[in-house]
Amino acid sequence: MIEACSVNYSIEDKAILKGINFTFNKGKMYGIIGPNGVGKSTFLHLLSGVVEPTAGEVLLDGVAISAYARKKLARRMAVLQQSGLPPLGFTVREVVQMARYPYQNWLGSEQADGDSLVDEAITAMGLDELRHRTMEQLSGGERQRVALAKLMAQEPSIILLDEPTTYLDIGYQLQLLDTVRQWQRDKKLTVIAVMHDLNLASLYFDELLVLFEGKAAASGSPAKVLTDELIKRVYGASVSLVAHPKSGVPQIILQPNT
């Protein structure tokens, strides 16, 4: 369980996040939405512990996140960056193997059977045929799958995703989110994702947190949060909202002004 307690963040006296209070409970999928530049990614990095808030604190199971040893934290929490994995000279298998770093001692060995976990993750993401290709030989979508496989091999109980679908085609977007959701259900993970696309956010997440002008403007189920009033207020756009034919969650239909 992650708690943000009066989290403030400023860069050179410019306040970006102004006192956010929110609790992310175990075992649910949370989506963080809001306009560009509001500080969603920053907030995510505060939650992951790599950035320290200017004021307030982030607690992981009641303990300040800054008190956790880095490796211990990495065994609990895994992060998927927006930029994905760079096209390196490492092979797919070598990259996924890196996920076991938090479990290895200085000699490089670990207690669990790291190799099997790595292979399982590779198979789960359908990368078996690519396992010995180098990253630079893969397409963007394939690298994203490798990034996910790496996440799996890290065996986290909490996953943070920073706009994971931004650079993907719709097919891959759905594939990624399907995989994440399935995985979350199987292992009862806590997922917190910064989402750009409101429709996807609505389709996949149990709860949404809306950040606006540095504060938590709204939170709750997609049905509760995605109202035309909120969208108008936060995004300045008039939209039509319809219920999804299969699942009933709100979906946004865009409305041009002219």
């Binding site: 960056q81 760079p86 490492f90 070598e94």
Partner: protein
């Protein structure tokens, strides 16, 4: 799998190094025959006793005092520089980084130039220049670190590199000024700068050994972290790497290795840049391979360069830094052509 690769490449590299050392020991300006050279060397081994009076004192002195120490020194200097280069490239994530990027060489040069210009070369005996050069080189790093510290206490790679550029520019100007002021018949400062292993002693060899003995295991320890660095600093942090601490330790260790090498041999370029790249081209981006193999590769490179430096125009010496650049640059260009240099 990695273990196999290390054993394979490592074994081949060590074999090459051993052969090179044998060849280099066998040739020299003194014109001693190979049989005599090896007779003298073998005779040094305490458990092999046979009549050693077959050789003149000069020949023995040349082989055991001059040539042996020089060959070993070349290997150690090369290993130190290449190792430091690998460390810098890993932390700065810049394929053009070399041990001199953060201004260590210009710091050492400034110290050495000052000593030479004012004739203080022997206030601490023959240790004066190496000691001063080492201290000024190491201090330069701390200057760069101080310049680069941000409010949060971390140091961004870009700021580090820029600070290094500033230091180099400033100290370099200082050194140039001292070179201009130097009015001896031979511009001693200039020739120190160009690098040389002539007239070095066993003391210099002993000086480098602890740095390598500590440096290799230390950098190997951080090799996995350096692999993760390739994914990006933030990413590495998410994987459990203590990013700032790793950067600091690797940078300091690499700088001390560089300062030690430069203080002994002057500024020898290209080793720290070319050798890690070469290793990467052959063996891939894994630092667990790059680090040990760079050390061996660096030793090989400088050994051959120094052998050329002392033999090509014998008995004249060619400055070692000139030879490493003349070999290194075209060779690197050739490699660039044949293989695509992979990112990081």
């Amino acid at each position: 799998m990695m273990r196999h690769k290390l054993a394979g490449y490592g074994g081949a590299a060590l074999l090459l190094l051993a052969v090179s050392i044998i060849i280099s020991l066998s040739i020299g300006s003194a014109g001693i025959s190979i049989l005599d050279v090896w007779g003298i060397l073998v005779h040094q081994l305490p458990w092999l006793s046979y009549d050693g009076t077959a050789w003149e004192a000069n020949q023995i002195a040349v082989v055991t005092q001059v040539r042996l120490s020089r060959v070993l020194l070349a290997v150690l200097v090369g290993a130190s520089l290449a190792l430091a280069g690998a460390g810098f490239q890993g932390v700065l994530r810049n394929p053009l980084a070399d041990p001199y990027t953060l201004g260590v060489a210009s710091g050492s040069s400034a110290g050495a130039a000052f000593i030479i210009l004012f004739g203080y070369q022997i206030i601490l005996g023959t240790w004066t220049i190496p000691l001063v050069a080492f201290v000024t080189g190491a201090v330069t790093l701390f200057g760069v670190l101080w310049l680069s510290r941000s409010k949060g206490g971390g140091m961004s790679v870009e700021t580090l590199i820029l600070s290094g550029v500033i230091m180099q520019a400033f100290l370099g100007a200082f050194v140039s000024f001292m070179v201009a002021m130097s009015d001896g018949v031979v511009n001693q400062i200039l020739f120190w700068l160009m690098g040389s292993l002539a007239t070095r002693s066993w003391d210099n060899v002993y000086m480098l050994v602890p740095f390598l003995a500590l440096g290799i295991p230390l950098l190997l320890f951080y090799a996995k972290a350096l692999n993760l660095f390739a994914l990006g600093e933030r990413h590495a942090a998410h994987m459990g790497v203590s990013v700032e601490r790793t950067k600091l330790i690797v940078l300091i260790a690499s700088t001390l290795l560089t300062a030690a090498a430069v203080s002994v041999s002057g500024v020898i370029g290209f080793v720290g840049l070319v050798v890690p790249h070469l290793v990467r081209l052959i063996c891939g981006p894994d630092y667990r391979l790059i680090i040990p193999l760079s050390a061996i590769g660096g030793g090989l490179f400088v050994l051959w360069a120094d052998t050329l430096a002392r033999m090509a125009l014998s008995p004249r010496e060619i400055p070692l830094g000139v030879v490493t650049a003349l070999i290194g640059a075209p060779f690197f260009a050739y490699l660039l052509r044949r293989h695509k240099i992979r990112n990081r």
